[in-house]
Symmetry: C2
Subunit: 346 residues, 2 copies
């Protein structure tokens, strides 16, 4: 129950959602082919020369220099990255919730009963206050299950991929996979070029993220960890099929992050990047290990180029983790000050 409520809580944060979207183009390449270690090449050109950039580069150098007291053997170079708000945009609502509401519209003709049933009626009318007026958490879960369950794994993968390739953010006029942070793409490439294995560890749905993670971030499906729905194995017309059923399997948020990291990766990461209180335990788990560790918080401070929010935001709240940063030695990245580019190509 607690886990189910966690999911619903994430979603209820989306109250203020303006969910009008449009359609578009190509996605930035993210897969890193490996860079030569030439000293003269700046691996993080979209980062200004502040202490934050230096801390990241110093960490990578000292953990990968043979003979260094902080050297980390390649198999142990595990780096984990939150997704929403750390690698891509999460305002004004989590992208996956926008997807859910759009899917609800698409499915509505097959569900005439939704015209009179709550929370579907309010959601279809764009009346988010109605959805969350009463039993908000249970209602949010109903919307998720109506759009994320009842199909096979293969069918859902197609739905997610197609939507991600076409839906556009209203403010920026770009597809969502184009609203990934260029400075973070550089960090991913830089760390991989130095032998780090990069994982996403996110509260987002694992199959939804796999719909773009490989193309956008260069992170293959088996390195994407997220929340998941229960599957049922059946054979349909002689074909093995994994059906997504309407129950939550795992919520990969807060204390769920170190738990899922241990279950799936089985090694404590040496570097973790997050942006909200949902990343607090992942950062603690990562940076309390022995030897050199890197904890980074992306602080959204740039209302002009993106959004500025932290302690009171309903989406991606950063409060306790911000307070915990100094005592834990975590690097707090000020997006406005530390990044000279926001998205690829701009």
């Amino acid at each position: 129950m607690i886990r189910l409520m966690d999911v619903a809580c994430r979603l209820s944060a989306c109250l203020a959602l303006a969910c009008a979207l449009a359609a578009c183009g190509s996605v930035p390449a993210g897969r890193d082919a490996g860079q030569p270690g030439a000293v003269a090449v700046d691996p993080l050109p979209s980062w200004n020369d502040t202490a934050q950039k230096k801390a990241i580069v110093d960490f990578v150098r000292k953990t990968t220099t043979a003979g260094s007291a902080d050297f980390v053997p390649p198999p142990e170079r595990i780096a984990v990255f939150d997704d929403d708000g750390t690698l891509w945009i999460e305002q004004p609502a989590y992208v996956q919730f926008v997807f859910a509401l759009q899917r609800l519209q698409a499915l509505a003709p097959q569900h005439p009963e939704w015209r009179s049933q709550e929370p579907y009626r309010s959601a279809l009318a764009g009346n988010m206050a109605g959805v969350f007026a009463k039993n908000g958490e249970a209602n949010a879960m109903k919307l998720i299950m109506a759009t994320h369950a009842g199909m096979s794994s293969d069918q859902f993968a197609v739905q997610a991929r197609d939507w991600l390739a076409s839906a556009r953010d209203k403010r920026f006029g770009r597809t969502y996979p184009e609203l990934v942070y260029q400075p973070m793409l550089e960090v991913l490439s830089y760390m991989r070029a130095n032998g780090f294995k990069t994982f996403i560890v996110s509260g987002g749905g694992v199959e939804f993220m796999r719909g773009f993670a490989e193309r956008a971030y260069g992170i293959p499906p088996e390195q994407v960890i997220g929340s998941s729905i229960k599957y049922q194995y059946t054979e349909v017309a002689g074909q093995p099929t994994l059906m997504r059923i309407g129950k939550v399997e795992n919520v990969d948020d807060g204390p769920g992050k170190p738990i899922t990291i241990q279950r799936v990766i089985g090694r404590r990461p040496v570097a973790a990047f997050g942006n909200s209180d949902g990343d607090l335990q992942m950062l603690r788990w990562t940076t309390s290990g022995k030897g050199a560790r890197l904890g980074v918080i992306i602080h959204h401070t740039d209302a002009a180029r993106e959004y500025a929010y932290d302690r009171t935001s309903k989406v991606g709240r950063l409060d306790k983790a911000l307070d915990a940063a100094p005592g834990n030695g975590w690097i707090v990245v000020d997006m406005k000050r530390d990044w000279n580019r926001m998205f690829p190509g701009n």
Copy 2:
């Protein structure tokens, strides 16, 4: 409940266990450094020149030859391997159950109440019939939880590693990680040298297997998938800690295998190796995908060098999957006929 019973059923198969063990040495290297593609080198020297070997080699060749109609791009080269009975020995009892019973003995001094409480009393006396006489499944689960829960992830990892490095199989006088199948080590190396990513997908406990998989098979922790216990995140004396609590999180057996494959890997494998009915759905899921697929069943037919068992065995029963093999095009390996070596070094 069904999942819990699945685990217990696996365990109740161990009724006949003779669990006397001893102590020993070094483990065969398994990590593959990549072989040159020289045609003259036999990648599978421990395999006799039968159709089974040819089928494996043909599959690897056609899926990795550029321009071949069956070419599989490197990121999609996912190969999954059952562990017990496929990569290492599973008779006369699953190694992990032997571990549980030995741990029970080690913990007994701290639990004087076990001397009068069932099923601990029977288990400590080596009276397996007593353990399984009544409520056998629940009893087996109690023995597992008494030995696998109540400690941190780090503590359990040390216990498993230490035991695996010292406990010896009675018949062979070797440590268990030395009772891995040499022909399968060659398959793992051969496939990795050809760009396949090798995963373990086993009903065994994921943290137990990680205690030897990297050294014995060259498979890193993040590519070991198995059954798992629930974790609780806490901070103990200011240190983040993952406590293993007495509940089952996931049973990775039978239909659970394709489900866990999808959740963790997120791609349908192109090759699967198993040896029992617990691998049936994994083999079906793998080989029913489009394009070239490889399904392999290791059939235990060699009582002289190892064990001979199949349809009526309580451990690693192979019955339905054996019947399903011809219709699905799966390769059935006859260990006696097809392998010229069994374990490394012999």
